[in-house]
Subunit: 195 residues, 2 copies
């Protein structure tokens, strides 16, 4: 069992109860709200996976729900989000950075990138969704652009996102309509395929 | 937060340490092993989702991993397994029954069936994988066969599986090559689509 650091929003709730509304969770929240909208309107079925937890000990208080009394966070084996849209399998990792010139790749585990590449190999649509919070700019970057050279450099520059990514305008602060960018990506791929 | 019964294999470990090898987990294990094989050989990327857990309290022992000291099982909002194969989104729930004539539908939550139907609506391949353990027979049943009438009856008879399902021979006891049946299902759907 691999020990793993608690997700930030859970760590923070220990010291600061208002932190759930902090910047760290807000980006994810805009994706989660979009997913609820897509599901409710039968546009797509995309969900955030539960955080993997290794349960060690459970107690069973009488007439109450089972209570987990010892457990640990595990390293996630895949990405955070996946589902189906327009008949395509969708798989992505969503991250944000306060950096204004580059996205540090240490935010993403190596095997998560391998996972995205395998999904692509099997015919799925897989990408990173990256928010540069201070710039208020959000990009979708298809996994095909994440070469071994980039992985060695261990960061992706903003200009690389500008050149190869699909920027998502987020005029609505409440939810992020990222399927707008997925539509463009699917159309690009189908165009390349038919040429 | 919806309280939820602990998964059987976790409940059992309280009283019987050998139970992990018991019948309840074995069917799932044969699927999980098949998934490892598919991933290793880049045939498909299909994973079991982590069990959703609501974390209430975490302690941070010095120089140790974060320890969850209070948490509860939540009702899963989707199915257990999903991923991508042959460019298709795959989504299914795997269950087993000791019943020899019918599969009781109370084993599956209503919103899980709704989820499978939404996946189908969005162009994915979604189904039940049901093992009749005493008969040693395993069937894949496409979600399109689960009508409202069937949901009202709250069971699916073995003969219905024989008529509408795809039976999977499991000569290898270690892993279940269920993609054999998924291949047949995809081919059937593409044939219907082209007619």
């Amino acid at each position: 069992m691999a020990a793993f650091q608690a997700p930030k929003h859970i760590q923070r709730t220990k010291t600061k109860t208002t932190s759930f509304h902090g910047r760290g969770v807000r980006f994810e929240e805009t994706i989660n709200r979009a997913n609820v909208y897509y599901i409710t309107n039968q546009i797509a079925s995309i969900h955030k996976k539960p955080t993997p937890i290794q349960v060690v000990s459970v107690s069973y208080p009488k007439r109450s729900a089972a209570k987990i009394v010892e457990a640990y966070y595990k390293t996630p084996s895949t990405t955070d989000y996946n589902g189906v849209y327009r008949g395509k399998h969708i798989d992505f990792e969503a991250k944000e950075t306060e950096n204004t010139t580059r996205f540090p790749l240490q935010n993403i585990l190596t095997h998560q990138i391998e996972h995205l590449k395998l999904v692509q190999h099997c015919g799925g649509i897989s990408f990173l969704l990256v928010s540069f919070t201070k710039l208020q700019r959000i990009f979708l970057l298809d996994v095909s652009h994440i070469s071994q050279e980039i992985q060695k450099k261990s960061y992706i520059s903003l200009s690389f996102f500008e050149e190869h990514g699909i920027e998502i305008e987020n005029s609505n602060q409440l939810y992020l309509n990222y399927l707008y960018a997925v539509d463009i990506l699917i159309d690009q791929k189908e165009l390349n395929y038919s040429l």
